[in-house]
Amino acid sequence: MNFGMTEEQDLLRSEVRKFLDEQSPMEEVRGAADTPEGFSRALWKQLSELGWVGLVTPEEYGGAGLGWDDLVVLLEETGRTLFPSPLLSCVMAGAAILDAGSEEQRRAWLPALADGSCIGTVAVLEEGDSLLPRDLRLRGEPDGDAVVLHGEKHFVAEAGEADLFVVAFRSGDADEALSLAVVEAHAEGVRSETGRSLDPTKRSGTLHLDGVRVGPDAILGSLGEAGPALALLLDRGAIATSAEMLGAAEGLHAMTVQYAKDRTQFGSPIGRYQGVKHPLAEGYVDLECMKSLLYYAAWALEASPEEVPLAASQAKAFASEAFSQMGITGIQLHGAIGYTQDSDVHLYLRRSKWARPAFGDEAYHYDRVATLGGI
């Protein structure tokens, strides 16, 4: 038993941090978030060349072949700087194809996802905004050995920029009779647009499917049998999102601690007053717990699959509550400067509001923890 990072993981962290500190300081983040695409293609290219986009893609499909316990280190760092990019979405699309796809399908899509030339994402949620299998209504109408999709997917990350969507749909009446398929953006009947976002560093929108024909070569696994693959995918999403949340929460916390040391009132740094220092200490406790729960869940993905559902839900539930609170505290402890456009604090607050519902909020995940815990 060893609950420490390896030297390689520490090295990865310091390399990513150095890269982001140099290449993507906050002015750059704001600039990129202001562009129509919402991220910098130039930095995305560099990130891909460094092997980070395909970090967990196996080497035979053009990736670096590392594990999710390494990936969370990368995502923690992109979270810390609020780095805007389709990284999380690409990782998710790649994971779905790797988990559920055939050898041919993996060869068809993974290399382009790993080298950053293809932007992928997953499309699961519908208007009802529910992750429960029974609430996925989009139906794949059989047509020979293909299916035809008619409907909409909502809250799709990178909807406007994605070249490829992994779409979840229904192939039967049983709750779990679900399927996954790859739908390419240029296919006939596919239309997508970016919606408004509270968090300018995260884009999402709607995917319209107007009679899109999906051939057998694009269906991942067997029709109606992707329930378990989708469940795993959602757990991966919860874990990946928790990693970015942890990083962002650490970034915000460090920034607030620094402010508490620098800002003087009543003749001393405000960090001396317990009304300031105690919430920061509680924030530290939250960060420690977020870390522990996250690292455990990421390790379970690699080494102990039966523990993943509970570990993922605990990590995401805790992160959702803790990061939201930290966003609120962060603004308050900054005073009026925290309420300005110029200060970066609100970007973290906005991120907390993006991240909380992504792949399930605490209500969803605590309910799952309860069920898994036998109550």
Binding site: M1, F3, G4, R272, C289
Partner: protein, 377 residues
């Protein structure tokens, strides 16, 4: 990162389970003779003081084995490992770290064999959180110290043979942390008087302890004169890391789930109430976080660190969990809670655990100042 236990560690877990199958006394039997038998069997295995070095009479177990041992014992709801709780949790480790050879030989075997019971004398009537302001004094007189003052909230002082005590041997000067000395004092010494204080449950667990010209051999000083603060910082971290072990919380959670399964709320089964479900799930998540935090800190120790300020994290987590957990239990019991019982009793005693070993505010100060580097208040 690797949470799998090695085959040797798994084999050790099996060994603990077989031991439990053979020696665990029935849950309703905690008679002194039974516990003595239990402790003898444990001592034979060297599982009392298991992680202490073998040359100090411990078991030389690794920290991981120690973790496994405690976890299995807790799951089985076994009696404690040895009866001298404070002796084992912080007095012994302090002796191992700061004691002279003859002191180790005098005290450690008795702690391991449950022949002694230690108590702890930090707090005083006017001294709680601000421990460094303590006023109990010891004056040097030849080869003895003469001790005067009084300690309060001394748990178990009415049974204890020894007290691990902090006193002042020189006045506060440049640094208030200097001039504090740690003494090991026999509770049989003339001039000690122990007066009971009843806790809010009506039980007698702690006391006020008076010291009136109590003579303590200089050889019973632990560490250098005036350097007791160093000794106590380590001891407090050990105390907190003990308090913040998650195993006890895990047992409470299981009991709480049982209670929830048979309770009704608003005329319906309590588990149909989403707020009950999510609250229990939150406790379960927080307890997992505590357990995993503990494992991360264990890894730090395996890499050579000593328990330190990070122990405040789980002490605070425990505070966050235990009182709300007991509040939910009393809420589930409803009006029936008035009738007494073990839940009701625990719902009250947990208000003490959160204070003992340092209040939440003090843990927040420790984290803010020592870990985050914020200025002292």
């Amino acid at each position: 990162m690797d949470f799998h236990f090695t085959p040797q560690e798994e084999a050790f877990r099996q060994e603990v389970r077989s031991f439990l199958a053979e020696h665990l006394p029935p849950a309703d039997d905690r008679e002194p003779e039974t516990l003595a038998r239990w402790n003898r069997a444990l001592a034979e295995k060297r599982w009392i003081g298991f992680s202490w070095p073998r040359e100090e009479g411990g078991g030389g177990g690794t920290l991981i084995q120690q973790f496994i041992l405690k976890e299995e014992m807790s799951k089985a709801d076994a009696p404690p490992l040895g009866s001298d709780f404070m002796g084992l949790q912080w007095v012994g480790p302090a002796l191992i770290r700061h004691g002279k050879e003859d002191q180790k030989r005098r005290f450690l075997p008795d702690i391991l064999a449950s022949r002694t019971l230690w108590c702890t004398g930090y707090s005083e009537p006017a001294v709680g959180s601000d421990l460094a302001s303590l006023q109990t004094r010891a004056e040097r007189d030849g080869e003895e110290y003469v001790l005067n003052g009084s300690k309060i909230w001394t748990s178990a002082a009415h049974h204890a043979k020894w007290i691990f005590l902090l006193c002042r041997t020189s006045p506060e000067k440049e640094s208030r942390y200097h001039g504090i000395t740690c003494l090991l004092v026999s509770m049989q010494s003339p001039g000690i008087e122990v007066q009971p204080i009843l806790t809010l449950t009506g039980n007698h667990t702690f006391n006020q302890t008076f010291f009136n010209d109590v003579r303590v051999p200089v050889n019973n000083r632990l560490g250098q004169e005036g350097e007791g603060w160093k000794v106590v910082m380590g001891a407090l971290a050990n105390e907190r890391s003990g308090i913040s072990e998650s195993t006890e919380m895990e047992r409470e959670l299981e009991a709480l789930k049982q209670l929830a399964r048979r309770s009704r709320s608003g005329g319906r089964p309590a588990l149909e109430d989403p707020s009950v479900r999510s609250e229990i799930a939150r406790f379960e998540t927080w307890i997992s976080a505590m357990r995993l935090n503990g494992m991360r800190y264990l890894t730090n120790q395996l890499r050579g660190g000593h328990p330190s300020s990070e122990t405040s994290v789980n002490k605070l987590m425990r505070g966050r969990i235990e009182i709300p957990m007991m509040e939910l239990a009393t809420r589930l019991l409803g009006n029936g809670a008035q009738e007494g019982g073990s839940w009701q009793e625990r719902a009250l005693t947990f208000h003490g655990t959160v204070i003992g070993g340092g209040t939440p505010n003090i843990q927040r100060n420790i984290i803010a100042q020592r870990i985050l580097g914020l200025p002292k208040d």
